[in-house]
């Protein structure tokens, strides 16, 4: 019996991720802000794990806040609930300042935008980067190397610009540069970069039914992505990934087309 229990614990430990958690006595070089989607959404958890695996592989001095992290308040603010936003911002800034955080990386462009652009005037000033930018830096520094004959070599990939990384923060190059290292066949969507079409989730739409119309925004965007003939739709936002994933299922293409975050793609392709 004890043996069995031991085995079970072992099994569990084997599966448990090696994640660095915040150490009150020493601030990490960079805090990994996981975000609510990355923490709770089953699909987005895979992105979180992939990113953690990359961070572990390159041996970066990072940490997560764990249970102390809270929603940044983005969906509250964008739906009009400034009170709730200010409350969340206040609490998060208290936590981040308490741990003396200087630099933050996040896999969610909504968290990225809020912490980077909206927290400073509330007393939270940090260097904030999106994970695609960090990945590009790590590639440039030679810390991430793609393995020979990577999974995406020669495959057709298209990249969907999220509104909050693209238009809101003018980050168009880093994700593309990262994808270029895959030696894949990158094709642009018809509406890309500053002209990129929303996936339909922004402005707290993720949390409500769409208004009446002819078509879902995510369907419109997915159709455009499928029209490129790409077998992988790369994105940088957990909400875009949900929306586009639903779109692909709606077109009955989930067996031939995958929607993946850039962190997952890199995690599958890098030398470890």
């Amino acid at each position: 019996m004890t043996e069995m229990l031991g085995l079970m614990i072992n099994l569990k430990e084997d599966k448990t991720m090696d994640v660095k958690r915040i150490n009150p006595s020493k601030a990490p070089e960079i805090l990994f802000w996981v975000g609510c989607a990355g923490s709770f959404d089953q699909r987005a958890q895979k992105i979180t794990k992939a990113f953690v695996e990359i961070l572990n592989a390159v041996d970066l001095d990072y940490a997560i806040l764990g249970k102390e992290e809270m929603c940044t308040g983005d969906p509250a603010r964008r739906s009009g609930n400034e009170f709730l936003f200010q409350m969340m911002a206040y609490n998060n800034i208290q936590t981040l300042n308490m741990y003396n955080i200087k630099k933050i990386v996040t896999t969610c462009p909504h968290c990225f935008n809020t912490i980077k652009n909206e927290y400073p005037e509330l007393g939270g000033e940090y260097e904030v980067i999106h994970h695609t930018t960090l990945l590009q830096e790590l590639i440039n520094e030679g810390k991430i190397k793609m393995s020979e004959g990577g999974a995406f070599k020669g495959k057709k990939i298209t990249y969907h610009d999220s509104c909050y990384l693209g238009r809101a923060n003018d980050i168009y190059e880093a994700p593309r540069k990262v994808l270029e290292t895959l030696d894949a066949d990158l094709v642009e969507l018809k509406r890309c970069r500053a002209n990129g079409l929303c996936c339909g989730a922004g402005g707290a739409q993720m949390f409500k039914e769409e208004e009446k119309g002819d078509k879902g925004v995510n369907i419109e965007r997915t159709e455009e992505a499928l029209a490129t003939g790409a077998t992988t739709i790369a994105a940088n936002c957990p909400f875009c990934i949900t929306m586009l994933g639903d779109g692909v299922k709606n077109s009955d293409k989930e067996d031939s087309v995958q929607v993946k975050d850039i962190a997952e793609i890199i995690n599958e392709s890098m030398e470890k």
Binding site: R78, G80, Y90, E220
Partner: protein, 440 residues
């Protein structure tokens, strides 16, 4: 050239036109400042750069290069031909004819030829633009608010007016050229003019007096047309020819993703969490204020300037994901509604001395909740606008009012708010499980 009576008529006409124009511009200025204060005056170098690039250089127009070139021709034509208007006005006041010609000599001929070429190009482009609106029916120019009524007519009227003005200018010069050839008195030798000389054939068979009558008629109609055009602006979407410049200067320089902060609420939360920081009761006495915007006057003055600067081109609506998938939201309509509403409020003030409640508000009577709810805050409309208009700011402010003052939000949003407040995440998961993904 002009009799004393004609000169007096001219001066009175010019004086009245300018007075009426200024009066209306002052009204617009007053209406704009009915909006809430917002400081947008920092970093002047960047602001001037925006005026240069966005307003003068029309940088964003060049996303659609062909239309941009055509639009630039009208714009350049408009500005450059205005130099000729200066001469016409001085001629009108002093009663002379082509008073610059003797001073400038050959350069004068060169200048007039430039104006003529531009006038001809403007005329051609206006015809092409009319074709785009009425025959090709480019969707963004004929759908939604532009499918009928004043907005549809307005778009066509401006083009027709410009065609008439350019036509008069060229015909005036053509009659003038024939008169110059006849050595008619007062008609200074200033030609040859390249474009109008193609039209002289129509006039050659007339007597000198008839020609002078034609030339004078065209001259008067042309300048009356200019004065009319100037005063038509106030009633038209065409104000962007003036307001694009201040709008570029005062455009927000912060990241597009940054929403304006509500300091009042920020402080309220701060004092709630740290009561020791709260000001004493007397010091805290401030005017009760409305959160977000219900009516046009609750918006920032910049949003109202935006509304007047909008020329209803529809690039925003064309790029809006909600609109493109059949939802009711149209960013152009948001701007047009805002202008209509602030105009009504302004007229109300003009009539009553102060605003008398008319039982209407921008929210609900102009912009519906369904429109606001469809916005994904993707910023495509803001990105598209060639003159730095932000429809999203208005949408955000109206949404703030709905949620904070009326508690009007869809059930799912209320659940989301509850989850954020209680579980620190928009979904119903225990905060203790936030890092459970690491243990799976």
């Amino acid at each position: 050239m002009l009799t004393i009576i004609q000169q007096v008529v001219f001066v009175l006409l010019a004086g009245f036109s300018i007075w009426f124009f200024i009066k209306n511009m002052k009204r617009i200025r007053r209406n704009i400042f009915l909006g809430k204060k917002e400081e947008l005056n920092d970093d002047k170098p960047t602001r001037w750069r925006n005026v240069l690039l966005l307003a003068m250089g029309q940088k964003k127009m060049f996303k659609k290069p062909l239309v941009a070139v055509m639009h630039f021709i009208i714009y350049a034509g408009f500005i450059i031909i205005n130099i000729e208007i200066l001469e016409i006005i001085l001629d009108g006041i002093t009663g002379q004819h082509r008073m610059f010609a003797p001073f400038l000599g050959g350069f004068y001929t060169f200048l007039i030829n430039c104006f003529e070429i531009l006038a001809a190009l403007v005329l051609i482009v206006c015809v092409v633009f009319l074709i785009r609106r009425n025959i090709l029916k480019i969707p963004r120019l004929v759908t939604g608010q532009l499918s009928m009524g004043w907005p549809k007519m307005d778009g066509n009227l401006i083009l027709i007016l410009e065609i008439i003005l350019m036509g008069l200018f060229l015909k005036m010069n053509a009659a003038d050229t024939v008169l110059q050839a006849m050595d008619a008195p007062h008609y200074t030798q200033a030609g040859p003019f390249v474009v109008s000389s193609l039209l002289t054939g129509f006039f050659e068979s007339f007597s000198m007096n008839t020609l002078i009558f034609f030339e004078r008629t065209f001259w008067w109609l042309h300048i009356i047309g200019i004065f009319f055009f100037m005063n038509y602006l106030y009633y038209s979407k065409h104000l962007h020819i003036i307001l694009a410049f201040p709008n570029a200067f005062y455009s927000r320089l912060t990241s597009m993703g940054q929403m304006t902060n509500m300091t009042a609420i920020q402080n309220e939360i701060k004092y709630m969490m740290q009561p020791e920081l709260a000001p004493t009761a007397e010091a805290a006495q401030t005017e009760p204020q409305r959160f977000g915007a219900k009516d046009a006057t609750d918006l920032s003055w910049k949003s109202l300037l935006d509304a007047y600067a909008c020329t209803e081109c529809g690039r925003c609506t064309d790029a809006c994901p909600a609109n493109q998938t059949g939802k009711k939201l149209s960013p152009r309509k948001i701007m047009m509604d805002t202008r209509d509403r602030i105009q009504v409020i302004g007229e109300n003030i003009d009539k009553n001395g102060e605003f008398v409640d008319d039982g209407k508000t921008l929210l609900n009577d102009y912009i519906t909740v369904e429109e606001l709810r469809a916005c994904t805050t993707c910023n495509a409309c803001v990105e598209e606008c060639p003159v730095s208009i932000e429809p999203l700011s208005i949408i955000n402010e109206l949404r703030r009012y709905l949620v904070m003052e009326e508690s009007n939000s869809p059930t799912e949003w209320n659940l989301m708010f509850g989850n954020i407040e209680n579980n620190m995440a928009p979904w119903k998961f225990s905060p203790d499980d936030r890092d459970a993904w690491a243990n799976d």
